[in-house]
C-alpha cells in the first residue's frame, strides 16, 4: 500500500451477537483512531425497571440478552435477595449453578463452532464449514444441544427460562429428570474433550494482553453464579464495592458505556477467569487445558477459544458433580418479602463479569437499577487490541486488514445486545 492515509469502515460486523461497526482512521502511517461503534439501539432497561416489583426483575432483565439470560437472572436474584436479607439454601444454590452450567455449555458451544471457528478455518459460517467438516459441526451441535437440555430441564425453557424466581425455583426437578440429562452430559464430555483437542490445533499468533483482568472468584471453586471480585493483580472486593472500582464512561460513538477498573484498562471473561482461577478447575478440565498446551494462565486473546473449550469441559464435569449429589430443594423456593435498601449481584456470564445493583423501597418497588454488562467493561480493551492489530498490519490491503480486525473482535465474544446500553467497522485511512 502506498497511500499514507486511509479510513476503513465495516458497517455491520458479522458473527457477533448484536449490532456494531468498526471505524479505523490511519493517518501518515499511524493508527490515529479506533472506534468500536455500538449502534444497537438503546432499550433503557435501567429506566423502565423503576417502579417494578422486586419479584418481576429477573424475568425482565433476562430479556436484555437471549444468549445469556441465566446470567441476567442470576445477578438480579443475588442483588435482590441481598436487599431482602435472604440467603438461598445449599440445594437451591446448587440447582442454580447447574442451570448456569447449562448456559456456559450452550453459549460457549455456539461461540466456538458457529461464530469463532470459521475464522480459523477460513469459512464465512458454520453451514459452509459443515460442507467440509460435517462430523465436527455435528459434534458442536450435539454439545450445544446438551447445554440446552440442562437449561430446559431445570429452567423450563432454554431462552428466557420460566422456572426460576427470586428465592429459588417454581418447581424443583425430580432426581430421575436429572438422571436423563446426566446421560447426555456424559456423552457431551467426550465431545467437549474432542473440541478442546480440535481447537488447540488451530494457528494462534503470539500475543499477550498486558491489561489487568477481573473475575468473580470463590475459595476452591471456579466461580460461576456468585462470589467476590478479584483482579489478576491480587485485589479482592465484595460485589457492593464494584462501583467504587469499576466506573463507566459514556463515549460519543457508542450506545455502550466504556468502563475502567481503578482508572485502568481491564478485561473480564474466559481469559480473566482462567488466569485467576485455573487452579480451581476440575481435574479433567485441568488435564484438558494441559493437553492443549496451556499453563496456569492465558493472556492470548486468540487462545480464548481454547479456554472456552476447557470451560465447557469444566461446566460438564461440574454439572455431573452437582447431579451426582443432588438433593431436591424442598421447598423449591424461599419466600422473599420486600425490604427497603440497596443490593448488589455479580456472576460470570459466559463472556464475562455481570454486575447488577438495585435499590428497593419498603414495598419492594425498584427505585433505581444499574447494570454493568461484560461487553461494556471489555470494550476499551477490545479497542486497544484493535489499535495494536491494525498498527501491526498497515501494509495489508483494506479487505485483509478488515478481516484481521473482525477476528480480533470475535476473540472477545462480545455480546452487543447486552451492552446497549452497546457495534459498526469503519477503517478511515487518511
Amino acid at each position: 500500500m502506498t497511500d499514507r492515509s486511509r479510513e476503513l469502515v465495516v458497517s455491520a460486523l458479522a458473527r457477533i451477537e448484536g449490532e456494531s461497526a468498526l471505524r479505523i482512521v490511519v493517518s501518515d502511517g499511524q493508527v490515529t483512531d479506533v472506534q468500536l461503534r455500538i449502534y444497537e439501539p438503546p432499550r433503557f432497561f435501567e429506566a423502565f425497571l423503576r417502579g417494578r416489583q422486586h419479584t418481576e426483575v429477573a424475568d425482565i432483565t433476562s430479556r436484555i440478552c437471549g444468549i445469556c439470560p441465566v446470567a441476567y437472572q442470576a445477578s438480579a436474584w443475588q442483588a435482590i435477595e441481598a436487599v431482602c436479607g435472604i440467603e438461598p439454601t445449599e440445594p437451591i444454590s446448587a440447582l442454580r449453578r447447574l442451570l448456569y452450567c447449562g448456559e456456559w455449555i450452550s453459549s460457549h458451544a455456539l461461540h466456538i463452532y458457529m461464530l469463532h471457528a470459521p475464522d480459523f478455518l477460513g469459512y464465512p459460517d458454520v453451514v459452509a464449514m459443515a460442507r467440509d467438516h460435517r462430523a465436527i459441526v455435528e459434534r458442536g451441535l450435539r454439545l450445544k444441544k446438551a447445554g440446552n437440555a440442562v437449561l430446559e430441564t431445570i429452567g423450563g425453557r432454554a431462552i428466557h427460562p420460566v422456572n426460576t424466581r427470586v428465592g429459588g425455583f417454581y418447581r424443583a426437578p425430580l432426581p430421575a429428570e436429572l438422571t436423563s440429562i446426566a446421560e447426555k452430559l456424559r456423552q457431551a464430555l467426550d465431545d467437549a474433550l474432542a473440541t478442546t483437542a480440535w481447537v488447540a490445533g488451530f494457528d494462534f499468533p503470539d500475543y499477550e494482553l498486558d491489561c489487568d483482568l477481573l473475575a468473580v472468584t470463590k475459595p476452591d471453586e471456579y466461580a460461576i453464579e456468585s462470589g467476590t471480585v478479584t483482579s489478576a493483580r491480587g485485589l479482592t472486593f465484595p460485589a457492593q464495592n464494584f462501583s467504587a472500582h469499576v466506573v463507566e464512561h459514556q463515549v460519543p460513538h457508542s450506545t455502550a458505556l466504556h468502563a475502567t477498573f481503578d482508572g485502568r484498562l481491564f478485561l473480564t471473561g474466559p481469559l480473566a477467569r482462567y488466569t485467576i482461577s485455573s487452579a480451581s478447575l476440575s481435574p479433567v478440565a485441568r488435564q484438558a487445558a494441559r493437553a492443549a498446551g496451556h499453563g496456569d494462565t492465558c493472556r492470548n486473546p486468540h487462545r480464548s477459544i481454547v479456554v472456552r473449550a476447557v470451560e465447557i469441559v469444566y461446566a460438564i464435569t461440574e454439572a455431573l458433580r452437582i447431579i451426582d449429589s443432588y438433593e431436591r430443594p424442598d421447598p423449591a423456593f424461599i419466600p422473599v418479602p420486600p425490604a427497603a435498601g440497596e443490593g448488589h449481584g455479580v456472576s460470570e456470564a459466559p463472556r464475562g463479569l455481570l454486575y447488577h445493583r438495585y435499590r428497593l423501597d419498603q414495598d419492594g418497588h425498584i427505585e433505581s437499577a444499574a447494570i454493568v454488562p461484560p461487553t461494556s467493561q471489555n470494550q476499551a480493551a477490545i479497542e486497544a487490541d484493535l489499535r495494536r492489530t491494525a498498527a501491526a498490519r498497515l501494509q495489508l490491503p483494506d479487505a485483509e486488514l478488515t478481516a484481521a480486525c473482525e477476528r480480533t473482535i470475535r476473540n472477545y465474544d462480545p455480546c452487543i445486545s447486552c451492552s446497549a446500553h452497546f457495534l459498526k467497522l469503519l477503517i478511515d485511512r487518511r
Binding site: P42, F44, D59, M114, H160, Q250
Partner: protein
C-alpha cells in the same frame, strides 16, 4: 467464496434472510438452537443474510425474511422499509417485532427522561420516543409470537413456507395447550394468577407445567376477554397495580394488553 460462486450454488433454493432490530437476539438464536434441523434446513434454503451467523452477505431480493426486534430509531424506521422492499415474504418473529417488546414501556413513559436516567450525555443517543411493532411500519405476511418464539413453531413456519402452505400455528389460548397436556389448572386449583386464558398459544403451557401462572409472553390471543380475566385476577388477590404490572411486560405494546396495563 465469491458471491457469484455462492449464488451459483443456490440451485434454485429459496433464499432466507434474518434481520435484527431492537431486541435481545433470542428469537434469531432460536434458529441456531434448531440443532437437529439446522444442517438439513441449510440444504433446503440458501441462507443469504444472517449477520449473527455468517459474514457472507448475498444480495436480495430474498424469498423469506425473518424479522426480529422493534423499531426504536429513525434509521431503523427507514431500514425496515428497505427490508420489506427486498423481501417476497416477510415474517416477524417474537414479541419485539410483533408488539414492540419490553422496550415499548417507553411508550408510556418519558423517553427523554429515560435517556437521561441511563446515559450521562443523552444528546449522543438517537432514539424515537416509541418502540413499535414491525407491522406499524410495513406490511407483514405472518407473525410468530413469543418472548422468545417457540422452536417447533419456527420449524413449522419455515417448512410451511417451503412447501407453500399455511403454517399450522393456532391463535387460541395457552389454556388449550395446557388442557391437552393434562396439566392441573393453576388458577382454579391453587388460586395462582394466570394469563393463560387470554394469552396466545404456542409455548406449550411451559409455566403452568412448573406450577407457575402464565405471564403472557406470547401476547394476546385473538378475541381475548380481558375484563373477565381481570376480575378473576382480582379474586386471586392481585391489586390493581399488580394487574397493571402483569400486563405491562413483553407485549405491553399490543393494544389489548396496553388497554389493561399500559404501564400507568
Amino acid at each position: 467464496m465469491a458471491n457469484a460462486e455462492r449464488g451459483a450454488a443456490n440451485h434454485g433454493r429459496p433464499s432466507l434472510a434474518v434481520w435484527k432490530f431492537a431486541s435481545c437476539d433470542g428469537c434469531q438464536l432460536t434458529l441456531l438452537d434448531c440443532e437437529d434441523e439446522l444442517l438439513a434446513l441449510a440444504d433446503q434454503v440458501q441462507i443469504s443474510h444472517f449477520l449473527e451467523a455468517s459474514s457472507q452477505v448475498l444480495p436480495g431480493p430474498y424469498d423469506l425474511s425473518l424479522v426480529e426486534g422493534s423499531i426504536t430509531t429513525p434509521a431503523d424506521a427507514c431500514r425496515i422499509k428497505e427490508v420489506r422492499a427486498q423481501s417476497k415474504v416477510l415474517v416477524t418473529i417474537g414479541a419485539c417485532a410483533t408488539a414492540g417488546g419490553i422496550q415499548a414501556l417507553r411508550n408510556f413513559g418519558d423517553t427523554d427522561e429515560f435517556r437521561s436516567a441511563v446515559y450521562a450525555s443523552p444528546q449522543y443517543i438517537e432514539t424515537l420516543a416509541t418502540s413499535t411493532a414491525i407491522g406499524d411500519h410495513v406490511s407483514v405476511d405472518f407473525e410468530l409470537r413469543g418472548c422468545p418464539i417457540d422452536k417447533g413453531q419456527l420449524i413449522e413456519l419455515i417448512t410451511a413456507f417451503l412447501i407453500g402452505r399455511k403454517p399450522n400455528v393456532p391463535d387460541t389460548s395457552v389454556c388449550t395447550q395446557c388442557k391437552r397436556r393434562g396439566l392441573t389448572c393453576v388458577m382454579v386449583a391453587d388460586g395462582t394468577p394466570c394469563l393463560g386464558p387470554v394469552t396466545h398459544a404456542g409455548c406449550g403451557a411451559l409455566c403452568p407445567a412448573v406450577g407457575r401462572g402464565c405471564y403472557g409472553c406470547f401476547g394476546p390471543m385473538t378475541g381475548a376477554n380481558l375484563p373477565a380475566l381481570t376480575r378473576q385476577l382480582r379474586e386471586c388477590g392481585m391489586t390493581d397495580l399488580a394487574v397493571d404490572l402483569v400486563f405491562s411486560t413483553f407485549n405491553v405494546g399490543a393494544p389489548e394488553f396496553a388497554g389493561r396495563g399500559g404501564g400507568q
